[in-house]
Symmetry: C2
Subunit: 400 residues, 2 copies
């Protein structure tokens, strides 16, 4: 009889967003005429830039011709043209990453979830709370001990290290999902110093870096000194260029990053991850890689930044409405997420139900991201601009 990985049975049965989808379905089945505005799941709504689509179609055409047909990718880690484009993108904000330190994948979530394969199960994993559920769930699936660093109102939802606590793996996300908070360079220096003291590795998720507007907020952990010996970075085109349905991201593992095996040998993390991917991954679709490379072209960056500005305007609309109502929040400035305290000290799910049933607006209950999220709520700026305005009008009209 196959023994199951029973760690799965200890997880919540469903992923947060699947639960939300079920609640919405139940409500709209009962109220078929309700005009629901979705500001829950962090999915984009603006179409992909035309020059990016043109590049994908060109790549598709190549697949129809014997001379230009592409089969398996040799490395499975991405074509050079795309790795060079990503490397150039990093350079544009002053961070030098070699193309071969970049591995192309089918989205940051996949690598974020799978990276744990290369680590043992006895590591202590430190995750900020609240957090993107993938960090927690994928570690619990292997039975690892997860400890939390509190993000809360006192620290503006940007948790800092507790020197009295030991950790081996540390998950950081900036701009943060769900709280929209960002780490400054000095704060990241503290985390890097903590990681080095603990010989820990930081798994840094910067999927929302394109939303950073302030000069002194790093767009990559590799903008901060000392990070190359202790960090892995994961980013994605999902939010940068509307690729949630296209599926392309990248992971950066610096050549310097190693860990000691029990026999004392130094093991390259990049090589270990390459070995994992060699057996469990086979590269990203060639036309998708063509599209991704076009995002980083001059025209691609120009067209794509229009979408980012559009969402940033939505963030302002949400933030202004909250200001008007006197509701406390983080995010919205360097982030597409706005994280606010539920009015009237309501619980996250109670407020979710009220917002859905009385305003027909869907958001994400903060408690779904961890205990410190209780009483807080996330709205995303990824919606349509008129609908976002309409949603905030309905929110303002709520009676408590």
């Amino acid at each position: 009889m196959p023994q199951l990985n029973e760690n799965f049975l200890k997880l919540e049965k469903n992923y947060l967003f699947i639960n939300i989808a079920k609640k919405i379905k139940a409500y709209s089945d009962a109220n078929p005429d309700a005009d629901i505005i979705r500001m829950g799941i962090g999915d984009v709504t603006q179409p992909i830039a035309q020059c990016v689509i043109d590049a994908m179609k060109k790549g598709a055409d190549e697949m129809a011709v014997k001379e230009t047909f592409k089969g398996y990718e040799d490395s499975g880690a991405g074509y050079d043209f795309l790795k060079e484009a990503v490397s150039g993108y990093y350079s544009s904000f002053g961070v030098e990453i070699k193309p071969d330190e970049i591995r192309i994948n089918d989205g940051a979530k996949c690598d974020c979830g799978n990276i744990v394969d290369i680590f043992g199960n006895d590591n202590v994993v430190l995750i900020t709370d609240p957090a993107y559920p993938v960090y927690v769930d994928t570690n619990l699936m292997n039975g690892r001990r997860v400890i939390y660093a509190d993000s809360n109102e006192q620290n503006s939802f940007a948790a800092m290290p507790d020197e009295s606590v030991h950790a081996d793996l540390i998950y950081l996300c900036s701009p943060n999902n769900p709280t929209g908070s960002v780490y400054t360079k000095d704060q990241l220096k503290e985390w890097i110093s903590y990681a080095k003291k603990n010989n820990a590795i930081i798994i840094y998720d910067c999927a929302y870096e394109a939303f950073i507007t302030e000069e002194d907020i790093p767009r990559s952990i590799f903008a901060v000194e000392g990070s190359r010996e202790c960090a892995i970075e994961m980013c994605s085109l999902s939010k940068t260029a509307g690729f949630t349905g296209m599926r392309c991201g990248y992971t950066v593992i610096p050549d310097e990053l190693t860990a000691k095996a029990s026999d004392g040998s130094e093991v390259s993390i990049s090589q270990l991850w390459g070995r994992r991917q060699g057996s469990k991954f086979n590269g990203v679709s060639y036309p998708v890689q063509c599209a991704a490379a076009a995002v980083f072209s001059e025209e691609g960056l120009k067209q794509t930044s229009e979408n980012i500005k559009y969402y940033q305007q939505n963030a302002k609309v949400i933030a202004s409405a909250l200001d008007e109502m006197g509701i406390k929040y983080t995010g919205g400035k360097n982030s597409p997420y706005i994280w606010f305290k539920c009015p009237n000290n309501m619980s996250s799910w109670d407020f979710f139900d009220k917002l859905l049933s009385e305003a027909n607006v869907v958001g994400t209950p903060g408690s779904g991201f961890g205990k410190n999220g209780e009483g807080w709520f996330r709205l995303t700026a990824f919606g349509d601009s008129e609908r976002t305005k309409e949603a905030m009008e309905r929110f303002k009209a709520l009676k408590f």
Copy 2:
């Protein structure tokens, strides 16, 4: 200090095909004028059918328009239109699979490698030897005990169960990679009966099913009675439709498939796998799914079958040359692989070196697939037809 998953350190450092690539590179660096014919890695060479590319471009165009833009897929398991197309394909050879029993993925290798996540590490894993290295490596990565069922000359490289041995998870591949052997319905019945006696689950890889020409050879394990309670099937469009660089496959988990948890509860394998994918996967690129669905259209199947016939003709060329030389082989009839005994009782790698250096032809050493592969060699029929003929002429001219 992060503890590594030290099971990785016990694996061979490099994946078989990476080693071969290195040997080829060393040879061609030393012999830049050598006209090397590659019949090693099982990669296709014919371009993708035009109607499939047209469907991909149409899907790409939809991504550029707000009204038809697609973001995250709700389930991450594939759009209904594709799951229904795959279900219809199964029906066309008499196998009924519900669309919701099908999960779309980015290639059979990925699911084949990742499926082990949902099983405990104390399972006994039975793998036929020789085998596709992914089955073995991904289990060794979790420290599972792997036992082998011998495929050899005596059983025409189609291993059968040994009733005296217990296993919890069983990997079968038909048409087989690397040996080209196929299981008959009666042979699969024996495996299913063995699995049921052991309460085991069969992981059935039929990535090469499109090459089956004989009526009585099942194209799916679900064509065989009793399989729905004990099997998971993985298939791919890589070989069916030239998708090695497009990345799309599918996994079938029947609703009936369950396993008992240690508390005695019945756990749905499909739900468990869904929970895994919910945290570590985010669906296949929408335009790729559009392309995949077009493969199963009437026109798609027609155009695609032309490519299959082209490769089948190559297989005949290889088989005829071996017949002429009096070399024993399996495969080639219901499979794109031809698996033969190295001439003169040479070892697999010795023959690899001779074939590369004296005929400038690349194949795959059988020993790379397991101990029973020693002294055997794999050639693929996925090459260009003229080059395949040329390769076999050079092979015939070799002096031993």
